[in-house]
């Protein structure tokens, strides 16, 4: 069993204003997707959504800026950690993510390196 971190990214879309029904639908899709992973006993951590307010970048020489939204087109929305036998299985899970299926975002799949790994 290996652990893979799924990092969610979206592009900010100022025209995106979901109606209450759409928002509800998105919530349901998301919960169904998370529930599906959990039902397969492949969820290692629910992770966290990462908030937009209080988002900062700390750089050398005491530079602290807001962001990194103004510099890049996408920002990280959150992450979860799954446990699967292979990266292919983790990718299969990521493909079902509502953000990926519905458009509007992407999922970066990264292996959580354990002491036994060399890669």
């Amino acid at each position: 069993m290996k652990e893979f971190v799924l990092i969610f990214r979206t592009s900010p879309n100022p025209d995106f204003n979901p109606s209450p029904e759409q928002a509800q639908e998105m919530m349901t899709s998301w919960m169904n997707w998370m529930g599906s992973i959990a039902a397969q006993d492949k969820l290692a951590s629910q992770g966290s959504r990462l908030g937009i307010s209080d988002a900062k970048v700390v750089q050398p020489n005491n530079v602290v800026t807001n962001g990194p939204f103004t510099e890049i087109k996408e920002f990280i929305n959150g992450f979860i950690i799954v446990k699967t036998d292979s990266v292919e299985d983790a990718i299969a899970i990521a493909k079902e993510c509502p953000m990926v299926k519905g458009g509007g975002g992407n999922v970066e799949v990264r292996r959580a390196v354990s002491p036994e790994d060399n890669s």
């Binding site: 959990a38 039902a39 629910q46």
Partner: protein, 408 residues
């Protein structure tokens, strides 16, 4: 009540109260002495009352006798009295100096403290339940053996080893500190939940015994709720969950002792009072922001008190299982979630999800697949039911599966 009816009725309730107070007094290493005193008290009651008839105040009589027996032991045994009256190490303890407090408050406090002591993580879950049944619920060894489908020797050994372990670990009969209470409470709740399940799912044919197990679990949970420090949302949620499940007790088995599945149950046999109690406690549990697994399970159980197959019911149940599985995975929850999904999105979607589960050692997995394939592909459904049949271990389960095959 005649003295013959009175004594068994009193035995369960008063035995445990007397034992709890004396255990607290003597310490965990002398649980046996506490049990013996309580036992002898009842023996005396049996002997005396059959001759002279029951006294006007049976409970007061029992308490008076128990107190006297305890005081005699303390007088005669220096080791005992030294433990509870350390300042009198070298003097003889007179009976008037020893107070055995059988007030309502001390009884409740002692029982609560015993509950924490007995549900201690250093002994196995089975041992915790057995000990709770014996000391806190006044069950006889044979009754406990019956409940576990075991025998007296095994239970006696289990109880003996558990008491030795508690003694060895120097477990104190006291309310856990503020630092520890959260974790210890979780342990107690798990044990009470398991105790309830023992009664609910027990294969024992003694229906009254099984119901008693559930009622005892509920009584002990209520003990926690009555105490300010442990009257927490998740405790109320657990009690709510137990009430909802217990409400269907009468409907779950027919006159032949066969299991009646939910969809076939007669709603009129569901206990409305227990359902409303469940609702009461789930409302109390909702005061607060933290959602425990018990909250989710209680909410699911609430939906099952409504037999009608509405979209709202199954959408709610699906969402609840989605949340529950993220907090704590269990194969049962995974299967139930998939069933709920079939009700909301149809069987084809559910089949896709079910095939991801791969719970190949679990007969319920194959039963679910059989149900999902029913009327879509009855050949496959039959294959799955037959796989379930070969994996099923109990007669009850095998019979249920056979009926499903016949229903194809």
């Amino acid at each position: 009540m005649t003295s013959e009816e009175l004594i068994p009725h009193l035995f369960r309730t008063e035995f445990t109260k007397i034992t709890a107070v004396l255990c607290k007094l003597f310490g965990i290493e002398h649980i046996q002495v506490a049990e013996d005193i309580a036992g002898e008290t009842f023996l005396l009651a049996l002997e005396t009352w059959s001759y002279k008839g029951a006294p006007e105040n049976p409970v007061a009589w029992l308490y008076a006798v128990a107190k006297n027996k305890a005081k005699n032991i303390l007088k005669r045994n220096q080791t005992f009295s030294k433990k509870i009256q350390p300042q009198l190490k070298n003097s003889v303890v007179t009976s008037s100096e020893i107070e055995i407090d059988l007030s309502e408050k001390n009884i409740t406090d002692s029982q609560l403290q015993m509950l924490f002591a007995v549900c201690h993580p250093s002994i196995s879950a089975e041992a915790q339940i057995s000990l709770a049944l014996r000391i806190l619920c006044g069950f006889g060894i044979e009754e406990i053996a019956n409940a576990f489908l075991s025998n007296k020797e095994t239970i006696n050994k289990r109880l003996y080893r558990a008491k030795e372990k508690l003694h060895h670990e120097k477990v104190q009969i006291e309310f856990p500190s503020e630092k520890e209470i959260d974790k210890r409470l979780d342990n107690v709740l798990t044990t009470l939940y398991l105790l309830f399940n023992e009664g609910y799912y027990s294969e024992s044919s003694d229906n009254i015994l099984r119901e008693d197990l559930c009622l005892e679990a509920m009584r002990l949970t209520y003990l926690l709720i009555e105490n300010e420090q442990t009257n927490l949302p998740r405790v109320n949620a657990l009690l709510s969950l137990m009430c909802f499940h217990a409400s269907r007790f009468a409907a779950r088995k027919n006159e032949n002792g066969e299991v009646v599945l939910y969809q076939d149950q007669d709603e009129k046999l569901w206990n409305a009072e227990l359902i409303s109690k469940g609702i009461f406690f789930i409302n109390k549990a909702s005061q607060g922001k933290i959602i425990s697994k018990y909250h989710l399970e209680a909410s699911i159980a609430y939906w099952h008190t409504i037999k009608a197959d509405t979209k709202e019911k199954w959408e709610s149940i699906l969402l609840l299982y989605n949340q529950l599985l993220q907090i704590e995975y269990s194969p049962v929850a995974a299967l139930n979630r998939t069933f709920a999904l079939s009700k909301v999105y149809g069987k084809q979607e559910a089949i896709k999800e079910a095939e991801k589960l791969q719970l190949t050692n679990n007969h319920y997995y194959y039963t679910l697949l059989g149900e999902l394939y029913k009327d879509i592909n009855n050949t496959k459904a039959k294959q799955y039911f037959e796989a379930a049949y070969s994996l099923a271990k109990t007669q009850t389960d095998k019979r249920t599966i056979k009926k499903k095959i016949a229903g194809l």
